[in-house]
Subunit: 216 residues, 2 copies
């Protein structure tokens, strides 16, 4: 396979997954057939089965692709955080971007879908949870352990700190959005939530010598 | 109406709502008819329409009744918190109970249901959000304002503090439970999550003179 062929294959895969995302979100998991996706993606059913195995495999690929797209937004902020000498500023920039990535409307719809189907199709919700929140927690735990070694944070349970930080940043706007699909927090509200999450987190987890002046 | 008649009516209403809860959780909102509920509750359809108006009214009554039941568990802890002279202990006892109330399996199923239907039936999710999380936030905001006046907490935005506290306590186990319906955190895990949530919250929101020795 030449490089050009490889790129064409990747583009084609990406186009199929975009079409599949739209169909799943529109019709639900149980309501979507491989025929529906084949028609929407202008692909043959044979192609879908060859590439994704079955409907579960296709939906897992949809989850994986959409989460990977969303995560790309915070990669530079995570890199900056490892070498930070401004923990409050860099953590704040990460948090503001992270909220926006996670609250994208199509991701909220996929999230609602997997929650809705968690009883009937537990592997889908499990896949979402592992590829989304749990992977983010692993990444943040690794970062917080590194920053503890550097004397910037102070935690002997970086995984717990990571979960609390992630939900401090996300919970308020995420719950509002899950239950109120027709409202959306303003950019100013999102920034204020991110900044307060960082303040709370650092009050509890900054190394003592970093804490000066952070109280109120 | 005599007192005994009033009690019988209340018992009957409660029995109908229990039956309706089971049917909605089993069949989903769209999949449930008033006939289904009437059969499960051994009531006439006329009785249902008289008491609840329509299916939306019935489901709202189901939400209201289930949340009111769950909230009763923390009432004594909230009362203790107003006059507390042990904020860490009393907030910890509230948090441990609050987690257990919210994670009850039937409440998780109703929560999944309203999230699932949020696009098609936004008023149901809105009702859940107002009667559940938002009412809890109002109650906690009122408490935190009172504790700030007493010099125990220090916040000029008690509503924001209330939302952050509520989700600090609930987010980790709630997200695990939403996406992994067949797993349940152990009691020790729940207590550890509650205690760490309280530690983080007080690090950020305790009045300065209360903070001594709370860092790590």
């Amino acid at each position: 396979m030449t490089d050009t062929e490889g790129m064409r294959r990747a583009d084609r895969r990406s186009a199929i997954l975009d079409a599949a995302t739209s169909v799943f979100v529109e019709r639900g998991y149980a309501g979507t057939t491989m025929d529906d996706v084949a028609a929407a993606a202008r692909a043959s059913k044979q192609t879908l089965y060859q590439r994704f195995g079955d409907k579960v495999g296709l939906f897992e690929a949809v989850i994986e692709a959409n989460i990977a797209d969303a995560e790309a937004g915070t990669d530079p902020h995570l890199a900056a955080l490892r070498d930070t000498d401004d923990i409050e500023g860099d953590l704040g920039r990460f948090a503001r971007q992270h909220i926006r990535d996670v609250l994208q409307p199509h991701l909220l719809r996929i999230r609602r879908l997997v929650i809705a189907e968690a009883d009937r199709f537990p592997t889908l919700a499990q896949t979402w949870f592992e590829r989304g929140p749990e992977r983010a927690h692993d990444t943040l735990a690794d970062l917080f352990a590194h920053l503890t070694e550097r004397g910037i944070l102070d935690t002997d349970r970086p995984r717990v700190a990571a979960e609390h930080f992630n939900w401090l940043v996300l919970s308020i706007p995420l719950h509002r959005s899950l239950y109120q699909p027709n409202t959306r927090p303003t950019d100013d509200e999102l920034d204020a939530i991110a900044d307060e999450a960082v303040r709370i987190f650092l009050a509890a987890y900054a190394a003592p010598q970093q804490r000066t002046g952070r109280g109120r």
